[in-house]
Symmetry: C2
Subunit: 346 residues, 2 copies
């Protein structure tokens, strides 16, 4: 008999509320014969204030044993900027080698977009997750003086770039349009740009069916608002991926519906799935948060573990629910979760 052993990290702010709905829908969609085990972890602002810890070696040992991780949101204004981001979120991505940061963008029927004319949007971004300017390399001298110098070093390796580029080609190959766009800034960041572009072009030779192109990151933001339909799969570096996926989420229905996976394709470590939105402390605890992004992250999680049918059912339920939203009065976090649970079970 099958089983899923899940680490659950509700985290801060609305994280608690949305994760509860994600688990509700997960339980509802799984067939009887699949045993679901969950273990909750208390990472985030409260743990940090209580103990000063964000994520210890012992924590990582425990997390490692699970099949996958579901995360709500981490971050709170009471903690200095960077402490939880570097100390928990990025530490986990690096420790578990989450080098494929997968972020789909699909504008579903009935969903509002800030763009005029309701364009067709259906692409995925494969963001590198363990290199680039996110490595924490760099430093500061003469801190706090008029002669302070602070550096940030973007580190890019052939090993790291090639594996994520290959992953993106595989995903492009599996999609009907088979189109892959490299987004970088190779006219200015020439060292990293040369590495990315060279590897991209080399791997492309192995995928003759995949159409490829290249766009500078600044121009990519223009296309995302003027012609988002041109994108099918995008592969890009860690920082550019961070920036364009927030924009991609905004144009395809908002961060209320944007899901993401921090994936270790080799399965050496568990992958982590989380909504793109943050902890939104201003609306926390009020039942106002939209759990849809978390529910869609559960679908990505199921697909990663091989439960494609169940992932499809969740995505269909979300589509149907969103299509009807305009006609319904506003619902609370748990009402949306209930409605989705009913749909996936039905």
């Amino acid at each position: 008999s099958r089983s899923i052993d899940l680490a659950v990290i509700p985290g801060d702010g609305i994280g608690q509320e949305v994760v509860a709905e994600g688990l509700k829908v997960l339980s509802a969609v799984l067939p009887q014969d699949v045993k679901l085990e969950t273990k909750e972890y208390d990472f985030g602002a409260r743990r940090y204030h209580a103990t000063g810890d964000t994520l210890t070696d012992a924590d990582l040992e425990q997390l490692k044993r699970h099949d996958a991780i579901l995360l709500g949101a981490i971050g709170d204004p009471s903690v200095p900027s960077g402490v939880l981001e570097r100390g928990f979120l990025l530490k986990l991505r690096f420790a578990f080698d989450h080098h494929v940061n997968l972020r789909p963008s699909k504008l579903l029927p009935g969903v509002a977009t800030p763009l005029a004319g309701q364009p067709e949007i259906d692409f995925i971004v494969v963001r590198e997750g363990t290199e680039g300017p996110y490595t924490g390399n760099g430093g500061t001298i003469r801190k706090g003086t008029p002669h302070e110098v602070a550096t940030e070093v973007s580190v890019n390796t052939a090993f790291g770039v090639e594996r994520v580029v290959r992953d993106a080609f595989e995903r492009a190959q599996a999609r009907p349009r088979k189109k892959l766009t490299l987004v970088h800034k190779n006219n200015v960041l020439t060292f990293a740009g040369h590495l990315w572009t060279g590897i991209f072009n080399k791997v492309a030779e192995e995928y003759p069916e995949v159409t490829t192109d290249y766009i500078h990151v600044d121009a990519a933001t223009i296309y995302l608002v003027t012609d988002p339909g041109r994108f099918d799969v995008i592969v890009t570096d860690n920082l550019f991926g961070d920036i364009i996926t927030d924009l991609a989420a905004a144009v395809s229905g908002g961060i209320g519906v944007a899901a993401s996976g921090n994936i270790n394709p080799s399965r050496e470590f568990p992958s982590m799935f989380e909504p793109v939105h943050g902890s939104a402390p201003d609306i926390a605890g009020q039942g106002k948060a939209d759990p849809t992004a978390t529910v869609l992250s559960v679908a990505l999680l199921l697909r990663h573990l091989g439960y494609d049918t169940e992932a499809d059912r969740i995505e269909q339920a979300v589509s149907a629910d969103l299509a009807e939203r305009g006609a319904l009065p506003a619902r609370s976090t748990s009402e949306i979760g209930d409605a989705l649970a009913v749909r996936v079970a039905g």
Copy 2:
């Protein structure tokens, strides 16, 4: 009697066409008593192919003598990516210490935007122009091997950050809304982020009338499409500024109308004014390019040199022209230039 001694760099692609119209409007707007002298320079792809040079020390000596520089566009597919960007555009910005890269975004009446609901947009971005990941620091080891490592170093100094932050506060102070937003990614790029945020907060104390806030660059792209009206003045680093100003141009009428100034506020070296768009080789030589961005760059140039009345006249002419465009048949590059020249003279 007054005079303007201008270096003119038409450059590549549509650069030639749009600069001709910029000069046409400049001549038309200047009062009789102002003597306009122009000297044309042949930088760009042709010069590079003919001589292998992009910008020599002797060139810089010559350019230095002018009051200001008007540039069309530099870049051609026949030149490897990075050669003209690093060898000319960035070399000039660094050599002449153009640390204030000024990019206004205003959605004028009658101008199409990809955003629904025709929002009000009127802000300026003050992008740092001489530091950050644009310094060319970094390098490559084991090039072309499976063990290649490429680094890009973002260099940030208290000196460089403080002067651009001060410039932005001055500009915010002079605008009716008096609001300044710092855009960075201080939760991940903690070394540079700490420097930027610390200096921003320190300088803010000297400008009690200016309202300030901070937004991560990823979230800034969301606001630029969902609530662009929230911005008045933005100050940001070189790379973030590059990215968000292309998006800002896209939502406020497109790069056909986006102007920019590469400014040395100390006037130690001439400042350079250019449209944000590139050389667009696909439409070059066909009279299809919109010269409006160049004409608006001429207005920025005039304002920099103290010709505020003339700058206002150009901006009013452009507003009036754009407001009528929807009702007119499509016009060529020079027809638009002619129309603007008539308006500013009248």
